[in-house]
C-alpha cells in the first residue's frame, strides 16, 4: 500500500505527545525511496498516457500518494520542531547529552539557530532603558513567594547569589533560596523544590 510507512511514522509520534523520540532516520529514508519509486513509475506512465487513457487514474492515484507522503513528512518534522522548541525553553541553550542524541544532526543545527535567534531577540529587549535584555525563560510561573526551600539532588558546587553571597550546593543539602535564582537549576534537575 502507498503511504503506509508514513502513517506508521506519524502514529509513532502520536504515541508520546509529551516527549521527543529518536529521529527515525531509517523510516524516512524508506519513505523517500518509496516516493522516488512512485515518481519514476509515474514518469513512465505519464509518457504512455498519450495513447492509453486508462493509465490516467493510476497516475493520479500515485500522485496523491506522493503528495500525501510529502505532507506527512513535513508534519512529522514540524511536530518535532515544536517539541524541540519546548526543549529550548526548558533546558536553555545547552541540551543534556541524552536529549541531544535523540535529534538528527540537521535538527540540532535548527535548534542552535532557533536558540541564537531567541537569544538575539531577548538581548534586544529593554535596551533603551539600560537593561541588557531580559531572559524570558525565567519567570515562567507566576511568583508565589520570594524564597522557596529546595533540596539539592546533585553535587553542583558553588553558586553565587545576586547579593554576593556564595553558597555550596552539595548533594542532599537543603537551602532556602530566592525563587528567581533557583528556577533554572530546578528545571535542570539540580535542585528540587520541597514545600
Amino acid at each position: 500500500m502507498f503511504a503506509e510507512k508514513v502513517i506508521e511514522l506519524l502514529k509513532e509520534t502520536e504515541r508520546n505527545p509529551e516527549t521527543i523520540d529518536q529521529f527515525n532516520d531509517e523510516k524516512i529514508r524508506q519513505i523517500l525511496e518509496e516516493m522516488q519509486l512512485l515518481f519514476k513509475m509515474n514518469m513512465n506512465d505519464a509518457n504512455a498516457t498519450m495513447d492509453n487513457k486508462a493509465l490516467w487514474t493510476t497516475v493520479q492515484v500515485r500522485h496523491s500518494a506522493l503528495e500525501r507522503n510529502k505532507r506527512c513528512l513535513l508534519a512529522y518534522l514540524y511536530n518535532r520542531m515544536n517539541k524541540i522548541k519546548t526543549l529550548r525553553w526548558e533546558f536553555g541553550s545547552v541540551l543534556p547529552l541524552d536529549v541531544r542524541e535523540l535529534l538528527a544532526d540537521e535538527e540540532y543545527d535548527w535548534f542552535t539557530k532557533y536558540s541564537s535567534n531567541l537569544a538575539t531577540y531577548m538581548r534586544s529587549l529593554g535596551q533603551d532603558t539600560g537593561y541588557n535584555g531580559i531572559d524570558l525563560t525565567e519567570n515562567l510561573k507566576p511568583p508565589k513567594s520570594l524564597y522557596i526551600e529546595v533540596l539539592c539532588v546533585l553535587d553542583y558546587g558553588k553558586l553565587e547569589l545576586e547579593d554576593g553571597d556564595v553558597i555550596m550546593l552539595k548533594k542532599n543539602s537543603r537551602h532556602f533560596l530566592p525563587t528567581t535564582e533557583c528556577q533554572t537549576l530546578i528545571r535542570q534537575g539540580i535542585l528540587k523544590q520541597i514545600t
Binding site: 524516512i28 523517500l32 516516493m35 522516488q36 512512485l38 515518481f39 506522493l66 503528495e67 507522503n69 510529502k70 513528512l73 513535513l74 518534522l77 514540524y78 520542531m81 522548541k85 538528527a104 540537521e106 535538527e107 543545527d109 535548527w110 539557530k113 532557533y114 535567534n117 531567541l118 538575539t120 531577540y121 534586544s124 529587549l125 529593554g126 533603551d128 532603558t129 539600560g130 537593561y131 531580559i134 524570558l136 525565567e138 519567570n139 515562567l140 510561573k141 507566576p142 511568583p143 513567594s145 520570594l146 547579593d163 525563587t179 528567581t180
Partner: protein
C-alpha cells in the same frame, strides 16, 4: 530620574503614570492571552515599566536586607516582571505559530505605519521562518522527487481561528456591532458600557485593538 528616597512604586510627578502604565500593561497582557490573533504591540508600556522597575530596584538596594519593605517590594517587582515576561512570551508563541500570515500582513502594515510587531519581533519572525524553511528543505524537500521540492508558503501557513468565541467587557458604549451569520442574516447589537458578553472574536477584533472592550 530624581534621587528620591521614597521607594514606593509611584513617586512624585510620576505618581499617576506608573499606576496607569501598570494597568495598561495588565490589560494588554490579558487581551494578548485571550485573543486568538496577535495584537498591536505595547512596547512603549513595557519599556516604561522596565525603567520603573530599575528605579525600584535601585531604591531597594539602598535598604538593609532585613527590611520588611524591601521584601514586599521585591515581591512586587517579581510580579511585574512575570507579567512582562509572560506577555512577551505569548507574543513570541503566536509569532512562531502563525509566522507566515503574520509576516505577510505585517509587510503591508509596515508600509502604512501601523505595524503590530516591534522591529526586533519582526526580525525574529523573519529569521524564524527562514530557519524553518531551510530546515525542511535540508531534511525532506531536497530529497523528494524533482517537481515536489517547493516550500509552499500558502500550504504551510497556519491561521489563527478568528471565529472562536471570547468573553469580553465593554469599557465604553459601542453601538451597532454587526455580527455576521453563516446563513447571511446579519444581526446588529449594542454594547453597553460595563456590560459583559460572549461573542465571536472577529466582529469585535477592532474594538479590542483600540481599547474599547477588554477580553476577560
Amino acid at each position: 530620574m530624581d534621587s528620591n528616597e521614597d521607594i514606593y512604586l509611584s513617586d512624585n510627578e510620576e505618581e499617576i503614570t506608573a499606576e496607569i502604565v501598570l494597568k495598561t500593561l495588565q490589560s494588554a497582557w490579558q487581551n494578548e492571552r485571550l485573543a486568538p490573533e496577535i495584537l498591536p504591540h505595547r512596547s512603549d508600556m513595557v519599556e516604561c515599566m522596565l525603567g520603573q522597575l530599575q528605579h525600584m530596584e535601585r531604591n531597594i538596594s539602598k535598604l538593609p536586607k532585613t527590611d520588611l519593605r524591601a521584601s514586599i517590594h521585591k515581591m512586587e517587582i517579581s510580579r511585574i516582571k512575570f507579567i512582562i515576561c509572560n506577555y512577551l512570551k505569548i507574543r513570541l508563541n503566536k509569532i512562531e505559530k502563525y509566522c507566515i500570515p503574520i509576516i505577510k500582513d505585517e509587510r503591508q502594515r509596515t508600509d502604512s505605519g501601523t505595524n503590530y510587531l516591534t522591529p526586533s519581533e519582526y526580525k525574529y519572525a523573519q529569521e524564524y521562518l527562514l530557519n524553518m524553511e531551510n530546515h525542511m528543505k535540508n531534511v525532506i524537500l531536497n530529497k523528494v522527487p524533482g517537481n515536489m521540492q517547493s516550500f509552499d508558503m500558502n500550504k504551510m501557513a497556519e491561521h489563527p481561528n478568528l471565529q472562536t468565541h471570547v468573553f469580553l467587557k465593554a469599557h465604553e458604549t459601542v453601538n451597532g456591532v454587526v455580527l455576521e451569520d453563516l446563513v447571511g442574516e446579519d444581526e446588529e447589537i449594542d454594547l453597553e458600557e460595563g456590560s459583559q458578553h460572549i461573542l465571536q472574536y472577529k466582529p469585535i477584533a477592532d474594538l479590542v485593538k483600540n481599547g474599547k472592550v477588554q477580553l476577560v
